[in-house]
Symmetry: C2
């Protein structure tokens, strides 16, 4: 083992720390890591043709596996290409270990074409950034990167690996570092929460890990005992849903609807959620969505023991053994005929979401009707974008499918969003991932048409509207998918969508549906 180089010690140390999946787009400076993959069993490597696919896949993997994958990225520009989906991962509380190759130390000072400030690029999206100093350090640095990534709820850790530390002998395999525990219950806040949750003008606002099966069950029992309302944030990294589970709505995205939805609550208890704020600021409208006089009790944050907190709260309000409020029952919804309106699509989804399926939702405007309509669908897991940077959905679907090969993934993606990371389709084909993709093709950045009005622009002219349009030419998603090895079809109405989803779910590999809507 004395001849082990730094790259091999890196791979072995990652595996020792239970990182066993690598989403990668490597370059020259990462060739030793790539070579080590053949020497060391236990690391599944998945090639992405664009780094944003790799980082988004790592995000989706963490959400479903509950442990980090690593990415392997080529220097500063490779990291830069993955930055937007690392932003989303950071906001979702997903743990990711980025391995970023760097020039050999002696080469950095020469300012070669690919030289850049890698740490500077990493910092805005990383909780932890470190550059290895020598081959002997690489293993221990990797273990610390995994530790950082596993710090609850999950963090983005970026390890910069100069190529000479990878190719030089003297690598040492490191044992895993201890993972920091979740924060403990704040008993003072618990007392205040118990007092606050009383009747329909009180709200238990859930986020993060509070939306697990156990967390939802406890929340439902708390609601049954106290009469409080339950809501989740607009975007949730992962939420368990469907028939048999406590149905929890969301604070709406449109600012006026959000203000309305929260206007009745005088007391809000936060468990894994943050105090509700608007996505954007709008002229003349508040950004804080709760009423001015609302009492807000931050009971537990994203890094705390959320299920334990909800159990303690349930115990305190006498919720043990009580039937949870708001449990969804299996709908029997008729197949809508005619056009694929948002409501008709929602009805089809309510019928077709597969049992134990994973729904990756980047449906933007068209999808606002989906959530309420699917509380009575088969039990499933719902993933949202928490960082607002579009292009998250197709990559996250890859990661979810890799982490959960036994479950079917249904990805609902707006056409504008899908065009950010279309390369994801190729990786789905190569890995034969069980993903059915519905592209909601409204040929527009439809959300921005509304936002023009919301920010006070009346009667936008043709040049403005043209900047929000995806037509001229229309995108042909079925052709693009075929070009990347993914089969698919086009659907134009609700029955056509249902038949297409049925076909997609019946195949074990990826399948793309372009839905005119």
């Amino acid at each position: 083992m004395t001849e082990m180089n730094g790259a091999e010690s890196l791979v072995r140390s990652l595996i020792a720390s239970d990182v066993e999946t690598c989403f990668t787009n490597p370059g020259t400076s990462e060739m030793h890591f790539v070579a080590a993959l053949d020497k060391v069993p236990g690391m599944r490597s998945v090639l992405a043709l664009f780094e944003g696919v790799a980082t988004g896949a790592a995000d989706g993997y963490f959400r479903m596996a509950g442990k980090p994958a690593c990415t392997l990225l080529h220097l500063g520009p490779g990291l830069a290409n993955g930055l937007a989906n690392l932003h989303n991962a950071k906001k979702a509380g997903s743990g990711v270990v980025n391995i970023v190759g760097e020039h050999a130390a002696s080469h950095i000072e020469l300012d070669a074409p690919l030289t850049s400030d890698i740490a500077g690029i990493a910092r805005p999206v990383s909780h932890w950034v470190h550059a290895s100093a020598s081959a002997a350090d690489v293993g221990a640095d990797a273990a610390r990167a995994v530790q950082a990534a596993r710090t609850p709820p999950g963090q983005v850790a970026t390890l910069i690996l100069p190529s000479d530390t990878a190719w030089t002998a003297g690598g040492q395999v490191a044992d895993p570092c201890a993972v920091p525990g979740r924060g403990h219950l704040d008993t003072g806040a618990l007392e205040r929460a118990i007092a606050a949750l009383d009747g329909p003008d009180s709200l238990l606002l859930l986020g993060g890990g509070a939306l697990s099966d156990a967390g939802l069950d406890a929340a439902g029992r708390i609601a049954a005992r106290t009469g409080c309302a339950l809501l989740s944030e607009w975007s949730n990294a992962r939420m368990e849903r469907g028939a048999g589970r406590v149905a929890v709505g969301k604070v709406p995205y449109p600012i006026d609807l959000a203000l309305q939805a929260l206007a009745g609550f005088r007391r809000i208890v936060l468990v894994g959620a943050r105090a509700p704020i608007g996505f954007f600021a709008y002229p003349g409208k508040p950004a804080i969505l709760s009423r001015d006089d609302a009492e807000i009790i931050a009971l537990a944050g994203a890094g705390d023991d959320l299920t334990g907190t909800l159990d303690a709260l349930s115990d305190a309000v006498g919720g043990v053994g009580v039937a949870a409020a708001g449990v969804g029952t299996r709908h029997d919804i008729a197949l809508p005929q005619g056009a694929a309106t948002p409501e008709a699509i929602a009805a089809v989804l309510a019928r077709m979401i597969p049992d134990d399926g994973i729904v990756v939702d980047e449906s933007i405007t068209t999808g606002r009707a989906f959530f309420a309509a699917t509380t009575g669908a088969a039990p499933h897991t719902w993933l949202n974008n928490c960082g607002g940077s579009i292009g998250y959905g197709l990559p996250v679907a890859i990661g979810a499918a890799v982490a959960s090969p036994e479950r079917k993934v249904l990805a609902l993606i707006g056409d504008g969003s899908a065009m950010y990371t279309p390369q994801a389709l190729w990786t789905m084909a190569r890995e034969q991932l069980d993903v059915t993709i519905v592209i909601l093709a409204n040929r527009s950045y439809e959300i921005l048409r509304g936002e023009l009005t919301n920010v006070g622009v009346q009667n936008p002219g043709p040049r403005a509207v043209d900047m929000l349009s995806l037509s001229r030419p229309d995108l042909g998603w079925v052709e693009m998918a075929r070009g990347m090895g993914v089969d698919g079809c086009r659907a134009g109405d609700a029955p056509g969508l249902e038949a297409a989803i049925r076909a997609g779910l019946a195949t074990s590999g990826p399948y793309l549906i372009e839905l005119d809507c």
Copy 2:
């Protein structure tokens, strides 16, 4: 005019500073800028479906127009998506003005989903970063951003525009700021250069603006008088070439070939070029490519008056009125029959490069044979990637075509590179840009197969090789292009390529050729 908001003052000030093209992917925080486009004539807006396309297009635009375009990007993640091509622009010395929307000041502290450290993301790729403080400041800030972008040879300037500064009244249109001049001739260095350039063991190494028509002509006269050799850097932002122009080779990319090419030179004079270094460090090989005892004279850097410097040097060595050495003559090359080998493709290109065409070269491994073979092609302009981050070619072709609507663009793009920014095809279709694209489809990150060996990895295993392969599934470029509204065809041999290029050049819009090679 008292009612003008910040956004309108921004657009008017940019136009006053001669910025008349905007490559954009806007979001909510940029809606007022978009709205202002209808009020203010004179700004051409080009929509990109991914920000890396917008920033790469701005790079290509600068190279051909000689003045900056602006980009309009949505918050930190939108900027992040454009970062890799800004890295390339920075390394090419291209001037770009980025306008990046930001939340209103009061919203930033709420840490909304899209909140990020925009300045932190911008800094690694920007020479100048500034956030506007109020609507009244926006116009003057825009003028200063353009000034920074026009600082020779060209810089990346990033102006962060909080949405309240865009929507608030009180905008002021600013006059243009003075553009800093180019650096003056260093007469001491000129004396040393005159002494150094003497015979075939002396090299005049050219880069940047020295590769203009006038610069090449002066260099050719200097070579005729002194017997020095002429070379350019491996990557050049823009080089004039073809029959009737002084043919200048390049320092090769492969490290051993580069060392060989430079081994004979005891004296190297740099004009717009940097001292030659390797792209990457390799174990046991030098990174500085010139011989250890070489005298290196930095006569003029990228920001200096390069044509003036070469003229002065030519005058000093008695080059006035002398015939330039190494002028390329029009080849009469036969059409190769059979497979599309690199040499056969090069021959086809030598025949088919259109008169006054613009060649955007991201041909990577396959393209190494192209350069030498095309010195006798019709006169043309050749653009290289100076930052090494792949995915530059298709976007740069957009910018070149927008800047030079009267010229034909021929883009030579490796399949791996093209997959980084395929969304560029849609913008080409929408704008009906006169671009003929040859995708060099070798189904592999072929360059990395060589690099595995170069960094000392012998006999890579199947898992390593799989990470460098673009097959399983093969990419169908013609289908992908059609899905984005671009017509095309597939070619499998040299005569097929020539016929396909002929068809592409005959159309006035974009045309894609997938070449099996």
